[in-house]
Amino acid sequence: MKSNTKHMARMWVSVVLSMALTGVLFAAGAKESVGLKQITLTIAGRDGAYGDSLQLAADEYQKLHPEVSFEILKLSGANLFEKTVIDLRSKTGTYDLILIDDPNAPQYQEVNWLADLDAMYAKKGLQVDSDFIKPALDLGRYPYNEKGTLFALPFAGNVELFAYRTDLFEKYGFGEPQTWTELLKAVKTIDAKEAGVDGVVFRGAKGNPIVTAFMPIFWAFGGKVLDEDGKVTINSPEGIKALKYFLEMAKYAPLGVTMYQSAQVRDALYGGTAAVVPEVWPGWIGNLENPQESHVVGKVKVTKHPGEVVKSSPMIGAWLVAIPESSKQHEAAFDFMLFLTGYEMQLAMSDAYGLPPSRSSVYKVESQRVKYPWYDAQLDALINSVARPRSIKWKEIEDILGGVLQVAIMGQMSAEQALASAQQSVEDMVR
């Protein structure tokens, strides 16, 4: 009986001690978590090199700030747009940072879904770094001018470039084309005289591809999709001249160019069957100088587009990073945003994944210029770049224009008919 009581007492002591110990441990743990407030930043990002770059930046940031962890969604462009629109509209605040394709930016900016970065810079006593390439930085402003409020920073300075075969141009006595008219002479000659080589190869599939191929010509000839007041000006004498030129140039493109997407254009460029590729993107040309992948090592020059009545007008296609107004962690998100778009990370992402930098200083780093020989041209193109119209209806406009351009290339409409039709359809749609 006595031993039984002793046993019970021992049990009670053990239970009380265990409870006390547990309490102490929890208290210590709680104290620890108060000391290091854990933050998780959720980023709605892109897949591919963009996603890898984001991950690299997140990993590096976490080394410096162990209290911050990341959840990065690596989505396709369309999926990213859809997910972010649904979330931002419902103001659930799921995402702390989002990537935005620059033509989509006005849709977010117009409805005040993005946090005001000017205010955040001011709060921190900082100023926007002048190292950002201006045309890329301005895409984040709304209204789209120098004085517009900054809602996004450029994450990737993507820009459309122009490529031509230097060996063939030299062979037939042509220098680097300064105007589209000069270029056409070279295209005609090479197409006629060089067996197995097409004068020009571009993306002719309807919609975005053919529009992207056409816009640098349209702008260089003085064409404008919308004027300063938002009035539709597609069907102008300048626009018609540009389209006539485009249709003439397309005669020297391969049969079936109306079905060409980026894969076919890249094949032609790498395979040496294209004398001129008027639309290449930095992401397409990473292996151009790799003899295992390319038949044209040392034979292709990547540069900015020729001009015509207006200077060279490459299309900018930047990816922006922004903080949703509904995010509950503006301060932490802004700190990471500055890190992500800072010089060190832009250099690291360019080096590791070929991400087109949005800072001019990165283009001047010697190691990068050796690794990416077109960096001088890319910076030049970025500085000269033209943005797609800052309209919330751009996707619809692009679809209409992309449809008529292809029909015109197929010979089913003249340049005049095509642009008149586009003008009418866009006016109807905008109305």
């Binding site: 649904i86 117009e110 079936g256 679809d399 197929m410």
Partner: protein, 266 residues
């Protein structure tokens, strides 16, 4: 009285019934309602515009082309698939060398995914390196722009669908054919009826119901054509291979997040 007697059972199924209505009927009604509005999802602005959305769609050249192409595709593909399927079913009704092996081979295309089939045919149809154009040039003929010529792009896609889905018609019709009592055919043969007459007067009339069923299933499926067009031509060249499904995809998913989608789904 009847209702009152069964009220307990109605009470039991009510939750699932309500859930089903909420998940099926409500979205349809909601989409129908939205189709009468000019709805800017991003700005959350709705403006009642009556039938304007429908008028705009019907008068759109792209929609008209898409509708016409879908109709042609559905009609021609179904006709050939059912016709060839029936022919094959009749051939395989007899006995011949390695019949089982041939039968396995026949149904193979149906087992492949649409994307795989499209990838195979994209290579075969290639203007410069495709097998079809190679054979044509070997015969001294001009190469054909199978997928790049607007006048034959749709036919080329129809051909792919026929290749892939004729086995479906074949399998169903062959199974039905085997279920017909053999005595009927024996009696006909004893009466001296020739084979073509047996087919026309006995086999096809008996199989008529099954033929109609297969035709209906193929019509439904071909009307929803999307994968092959997306993988082979993306609706091009021009609007030559646009179908209703690619039209809905383009308008609803690529261009606007909601936009015109409602009026297309109604």
């Amino acid at each position: 009285m009847h209702f009152r007697r069964n009220s307990f059972y109605y009470f039991l199924i009510a939750p699932s019934l309500l859930l089903m209505l909420w998940l099926t009927v409500y979205p349809v009604l909601n989409v129908l309602m939205l189709s009468f509005f000019d709805y800017n999802y991003i700005a959350d602005v709705r403006l009642f515009i009556g039938f304007d959305n429908f008028k705009q769609i019907v008068s759109s050249k792209l929609f008209q082309d898409s509708f016409f192409n879908t109709l042609i595709f559905s009609l021609v593909a179904t006709l050939f698939e059912v016709g060839l399927g029936l022919l094959l079913a009749l051939v395989f009704d007899g006995e011949f060398f390695k019949k089982k092996q041939f039968m396995t081979l026949m149904i193979f295309p149906m087992m492949l995914s649409t994307m795989v089939v499209s990838a195979i045919f994209k290579t075969l149809y290639h203007q410069d390196i495709g097998l079809f154009n190679y054979l044509l040039t070997q015969l001294g003929l001009q190469p054909v722009g199978w997928l790049i010529n607007p006048s034959c792009a749709l036919s080329s896609i129809i051909l792919v669908d026929i290749w892939q889905w004729t086995p479906f018609a074949f399998i169903l019709l062959q199974a039905s054919l085997q279920s017909i009592p053999q005595e009927i055919f024996e009696a006909a043969r004893i009466d001296g009826t020739r084979y073509p007459q047996i087919v026309m007067r006995i086999t096809i009339p008996i199989l008529f119901g099954q033929i109609m069923l297969v035709a209906m299933l193929r019509t439904i499926d071909t009307f929803k054509l999307f994968g092959k067009v997306y993988a082979l031509t993306q609706g091009g060249p021009g609007n030559a291979t646009e179908t209703l499904s690619t039209f809905i995809y383009r308008e609803g998913f690529l261009i606007s997040i909601l936009g015109v989608l409602q009026r297309l789904l109604c």
